[in-house]
Each structure stands twice: as C-alpha cells, then as structure tokens.
Amino acid sequence: MSESHQHDDTSESETLFDAPPMGEQERMVEAVLFASVEPVSVRDLEVRMPHGCDAAEALAHLRKRYEGRGVRVVRVGDAWAFRTAPDLGYLMQKETVEMRKLSRAAVETLAIIAYHQPCTRAEIEEIRGVSVSRGTIDQLLEMEWIRFGRRKMTPGRPVTFVVTPEFLDHFGLETARDLPGLKELRAAGLLENRPPPGPLGPREEDEDDDEVIEGQSELFED
C-alpha cells in the first residue's frame, strides 16, 4: 500500500512514538469510514487520527477484516467507503404492497360487466350513462378481473368483456349467475327507492366527473 511502511523499526519507533496500537487505529478507520457521509481519503483519515497514526496500514488491515463479509471496504476514486456486498443487494429492496379501494367508476364498470356479460364498451357506457375511460378498463384487465370475450356480431364487431375465474374467486362466486338479482338487491336494502342523496351537480369525490346528473332527488322528496 503506502510508502510509509517501508521504514525499518527504528525510524518507525521514532516517528510513531506515541501512536495508538494498530488495532486501535483500525477501529478508528472503521468508525470514521462508517460515520462519514462521503468516502474518506487516506489523507483525510490521517488528518483526523492522532499524530503518528498510519492510516494506510490501518485501512489495509480493515479491508482484510471485511473480506467476504456482508459489507466491504471499497475504493471510490481516491477515497474509501463501506459498501454492502453486491451479492446481498437484493436484501436492500423493500417491497411494500398497498391496498387501495377500487374507484367508484371501476366498481360500477366491473358490476355492469359482471351482470351483463358479454358486454361491449358502448353498452357499459349506455348503462352507466357516462363514458368509460380507457384507464378504468385497463385497470380491470390488469387486475385480471375482466378479459376480452368474443367479438359481437354487430356492425363494427366490437369487442366484449367478460369476468374471469379470478374475479369469481375473489368475490367467492361459482358463476357470474350467482350474483344477486335486482330483487334480491332490493330485499337486501341495497336498492333503495331513492337515488343516492346529493346535490344535482357532479359529485366532487368522483374521479369521473363527466357523469350525467342522476335523479332529480328533490323532485321526489315529499
């Protein structure tokens, strides 16, 4: 490594008369490299360490000590730093899975497909009364809850959508026919005889504000 170790014992004992033992010096280099934000050069190390220390030798010892360990002492330009061993890089990835509720537009689109499959995009739009964004369909396709069905034998031969086995699995259904009908929905209180309350204007919480005003609720209030 460095030139400073070409000295014989006598000259070394003269210059390093009160230098800490090499083991101590190694500890120092270890701590400094660890705590430093930037890689540290041998010169920097020597400036920091007590007078008479041999940073280069301490560094060499330290490198040897970390050989094959989970972290290593690596050279960055003319400075030194700790880095995790490349073969362990995969441990530094943290995967987080975030659960989010499906948007209202997506839920409605999905429901229409489930109840009316095979169902074209135009049909979905007709039932929902608003246009269906490309993103909503893509999202459902990506989730593998819907897939393309046969093309319809109508002009333009539009594609249709159907629900997938994954969809049935997720919702605990054997077939799409197990979905409760309107009567059952009504019996379950899900179909109220009144449109959802709210002002006439588009609802602010909707992502798809293009929605047509639904139900003039006020007209039917007694």
């Binding site: 919702f171 179909l191 109220e192």
Partner: protein
Amino acid sequence: MADRDLFEEDTLSVTERLAAEALIVDVDGFEGPLDVLLMLSRTQKVDLRTISVLQLARQYLIFVEKAKTLRIELAADYLVMAAWLAFLKSRLLLPPDPSEEGPSGEELAAHLAFQLERLQAMRDVAARLMGRDQLGRDFFARGQREDMMRIRTVTYTATLLDLMQGYARIRTRDEFRPFVMDRNNIFTMEQALERMRPLIGFAGAWTDLTSYLPEGWEEDPARRRSATAATFAASLELVKEGHMEIRQSELFAPIQLRKRDGRP
C-alpha cells in the same frame, strides 16, 4: 428596614438571610415557587427527606416579604404559595384541633417534602441523561445512506358488497331518470299544434277536445295528462289566431272546439 423586627423571631443565620436576598434579586431566574423552595432547602444542607418544612416555610415567607418591600412584582403563584405556607406554618405550630377537617399539618408538610425531593430527583436524572453519550455527538450512525430500494406495488381491491352497491347505484339511477330529460311521455304544445292544424278543417261541429288527443296517448294517465294539456294549450293558441272557437258549459264540463268558419 422596618421589616427587620417583624422577622426577628426567625432563627435565620446571616448567610441564610443573604441567600434569601440574593434570591430576590434574581427572582426571574426561578421557575416558580417550588423552584425557590428547593433552592431555599439547600441552605439546610440536609437530606430532603428530613428537611424542616417549618423552617422552609419561614424562609419562603421572608423571601416573599422582602420581594414586596423591594417592590418586586411577584407572580400570583408565588403569593398563593406564600399564603399556603403561612397556613401550613400555623398548622404545624398549633396543636392539632381534632374537630378540624382535612389533612394534618404533618401530612401536608410530608407532601411538600416529597414534591421537593421528587423535583430534585428529576433534575438529577435529567443531568445524568444529558451527560450520557449522545448520538451525533459521541457516537454516530452510518453517514452514508444506502437507501432501501422501495418497490411499491399497489393492489386494488373491492368487496362483493362494493360491487352490488355499485350496480344498485346504476339501476337506481335508471329508475329515476331525470323527469325533464324524459321525452317519451311528454306531448308538447308544438306537437299538438302541428297535429291540430290540419285537423281543424274538419271540425265544423262542436267536438270534444279529447277526440283530438293523439293515438296511443289515451290510456297511460301520465301520457294522457301531458297530451291533454298540450292539446288544450294548442287549442287556445288556435283560438287566439282566430281559427277556432272554444267553449265549456260549466266547471269541469267537457271542453268543446269547432272551426271558426268566417263567423264574426
């Protein structure tokens, strides 16, 4: 100072008096009456557990009196403490009155001693805590962040209930399509006019208004209502234009129309 006689009974040494005076000069440096009491108690140079609360009360009252004569504004809580200590002092000095309610002077004194000891203890451990090796000063964390690569995957989910509610929402909306938007059951006056203009040529005799209703609009009450209203409005328009005559014999009687055939 005139107050000196007042406190001649107090068995304070000169050093204690000096200490008390020094306190007054620096009253702003204290954090409340308890802090002052703790400082005063140091002059007793004893374990806080065996402190003489009576002596402490006297010292504190001197402190407050001196502050008053020096016209130092004392915060209200110093005065509250003074009043309380004066009360405590009297309780400690007088023989206990068995008829009196509440805790004894000794109990109150013990609690005050406890409070002082506890405050002192907290100050001691606070000093020990701050005297420890501290992160970023004596020991250090890794300087270089090798930040975790965060791979975030977002999964969307919905429940069967969400699905059914979503569907119900759409179907409910269908049943309550906006009334004004629904043209199926509306017969407009323009439509009625258009229909009647060619027909009135044949209405030489009085004819019931209802016979002018368009086909298919007689059965359904809503449609019938709309068609009747439109036909009536159209009739009035035609009368106004001078093409027709209209009459109703009495209230709620049938409305009859006929062509105004150049009659005056």
